[in-house]
């Protein structure tokens, strides 16, 4: 049986990376993700891996570019201001199709603001925040166990599609302490990384490997053929790897939609509403891109209304509106629903319950 420990979310990121066989970590201190880099500074070299603290987040994302070019499992983690600095690198990683994992422990934005939780980076994570024209797979854990498990899935999906994967946490998910079972997940075989640099003398065919963020006319690629390849890859991701969980939606008239810590709030609000006899359920996207549009549309077709619970002024709500194609009302419980108006406030189940009652 796998070992069971108590861990906080940020440690679970580290444990998940170790279980997934992450070889390289590059990081720069920033609150509220410092536990991630401290954990891996301690644990990764002890297991033969490489830990390196860089001079800034701009450097970490480009060190990640170099490591991913070598085909090893590599990652970085940051919080919202550092995430901003990484955007050029994210665009290049996606353009070069380098598999890697980037953990974003969201904090209060916009700008530097404060150090606690928030969900203000949904847009830049799911829509491509750097030089445009790309998307990254985005996984959103809602518990310590799921943080650990999705880290393993993130490395798998990165290698499966040769694409960067973002694990989108937040200051609350990073610091909540819960039981964690350290079990290794099996996902199946992966393609060989025969595209990676190694040095010319190491390649079986004796030919060199040239990698970069742009298409290569010497390989017969054109700009449009490159875009078509990318689109086909994105379509495969959308076809095969949409993940979500439905909770008590069978007979629901109102379906809450929430990810991350807000999904925990929403789940509790659903239970409270059910005790009052209200027919309420929850759809929790686990992949924010690709977004679970089809199940949302199916619920809309059944006549459900929606209440999006997210700790921003409304970002994911746009994707829910697109998904339901105008077939259902989509309401929003946003950051103004926090029990305190300060940066320490969070959206509590009781406040969501009030909104559920109001919408009946």
């Amino acid at each position: 049986m796998a070992q069971k420990i108590l861990a906080e979310g940020n440690e679970a990121i580290g444990w998940g990376a170790l279980t997934a066989g992450c070889h390289c970590f590059f990081g720069y201190p920033i609150t509220p993700q410092n536990e991630v880099i401290e954990f891996l500074a301690r644990e990764l070299p002890a297991r033969g891996g490489i830990f390196l603290q860089s001079q800034c987040e701009n450097a970490t994302i480009n060190m990640l570019f170099g490591a991913a070019a070598c085909g090893v499992r590599a990652m970085t983690s940051t919080s919202s201001p550092g995430w901003g600095l990484m955007q050029e690198g994210m665009s290049n990683l996606a353009a070069a199709r380098f598999p890697c994992v980037v953990v974003l422990v969201q904090r209060v934005g916009p700008g530097v603001q404060r150090l606690t939780h928030s969900q203000q980076d949904y847009y830049s994570a799911t829509k491509g925040g750097g030089g445009g024209g790309y998307k990254c797979i985005v996984l959103a854990p809602a518990s310590v166990q799921e943080t650990h498990d999705l880290m393993q899935l993130a490395f798998y999906l990165a290698d499966k599609y040769r694409h960067p994967v973002i694990v989108l946490s937040d200051g609350l998910m990073g610091h909540v302490t819960e039981p964690l079972e350290l079990k290794k997940l099996e996902f199946g075989p992966l393609p060989e990384k025969d595209w990676a640099v190694a040095r010319k003398g190491k390649h079986p065919d004796g030919k060199h490997v040239a990698l970069g963020a742009s298409y290569n006319p010497l390989k017969g690629e054109s700009f449009v053929s490159y875009l078509e390849d990318m689109r086909n890859s994105y379509k495969a991701i959308e076809a095969n790897d949409v993940r979500y969980k439905e909770y008590r939606t069978e007979d629901a008239k109102l379906v809450l939609v929430a990810y991350g810590y807000c999904a925990r709030t929403a789940e509790e609000a659903v239970d409270m509403a059910r005790e009052e006899g209200l027919k309420v359920g929850l759809l929790r996207p686990i992949t924010l891109w690709p977004f679970p549009s089809k199940p949302l549309k199916a619920l809309a077709d059944k006549g459900c209304q929606f209440l999006v619970v997210e700790d921003s002024m409304g970002q994911m709500v746009d994707d829910v509106k697109i998904a339901v194609e105008g077939k259902a009302e989509v309401h929003l419980a946003d950051a103004s629903f926090r029990h305190m108006t300060s940066e320490d406030g969070m959206i509590m189940p009781s406040r969501v319950l009030e909104e559920i009652r109001r919408l009946q």
Binding site: C24, N58, A59, M63, V197, R199, S214
Partner: protein, 263 residues
């Protein structure tokens, strides 16, 4: 490229056909640079240095954005093209993953010490066991000849049309001298290519820089002054004279640090 086209290419640069028997150079390299540009000469010096040390198959090259980034395509080596200025960050990761390879960047002066000053200083601070080769043509060549960090005082560029004025743009940055002040740097030199003798000396600097990496001593750095006739608005021959009379007095040639161990 077909053999026939290759023959035409060889004829077009008669006098230096030996370059094309060297496997380092892709056939198209010479088409991509302006007449009189010395960036391909840097490619030749680097390639010969790799060849003479016998380390070509063990090397990984990291490029840049700018004229130096065009150069990377000429090398028959495993290579990675990074974002503008980020070569030392990318090379850092590659070298740490493959410590028994030779990892080097080729960067322009803008790439290395303007937008890339952070990665450059970061790599020197960590004493990364990589070699950084900086091509200094005193301007941003690819984008049309704008003010660079190395533009000399009084030099006219498209963004300093009255000439570099220290009261506005400050003074040119002396990268090789900066590198030499870092404890973790094993080797720092500045060479030029404006005479056959200076070419040979500069190739020697590059070889020493690679040797310090082979011996795992510390970071090695070579700055190479190159002619940019198009953006200097000079003929190739005038450009070599300009290097001799104007640029070298600002950027003295030679070795600024050369140690075989760092205690």
């Amino acid at each position: 490229m077909t053999g026939g086209t290759q023959e035409i290419e060889k004829k077009r640069i008669t006098g230096r056909p030996e370059i094309f028997v060297r496997e380092w150079f892709a056939d198209y390299l010479w088409d991509l640079f302006c007449p009189g540009c010395q960036t391909p000469v840097v490619a030749r010096a680097v390639a010969e240095a790799l060849d003479e040390l016998g380390i070509g198959d063990e090397a990984i090259m990291v490029g840049c954005v700018g004229c130096g980034g065009i150069l990377i395509g000429g090398f028959d080596l495993d290579r990675v093209s990074p974002a503008h200025g980020r070569g030392p960050d990318v090379a850092t990761a590659i070298k740490r993953i493959y410590p028994d390879t030779i990892v080097f960047t080729v960067q322009g002066d803008g790439d290395c010490i303007a937008i890339g000053a952070g990665p450059f200083i970061g790599a020197l601070t960590r004493s990364e066991k990589i070699t950084i080769i900086m091509v200094n043509n005193t301007n941003f060549g690819t984008t049309g000849g704008q003010l660079g960090p190395t533009t000399i005082v009084g030099q006219t560029t498209t963004t300093s049309p009255q000439g570099r004025n220290p009261a506005v743009e400050g003074y040119p940055v002396h990268t090789a001298e900066i590198a030499a002040t870092f404890k973790g740097v094993a080797y720092s030199a500045r060479g030029s290519l404006h005479t056959p003798a200076s070419y040979q000396r500069t190739k020697g600097y590059i070889k020493t820089a690679f040797q310090r990496q082979l011996d795992n001593v510390g970071t090695s750095f070579v700055e190479i002054i190159t002619a940019c006739p198009t953006n200097w608005h000079l003929t190739p021959v005038q450009s070599l004279k300009y290097i001799e009379e104007e640029i070298i007095p600002e950027f003295p040639l030679g070795e600024f640090k050369n140690v075989t161990s760092i205690d």
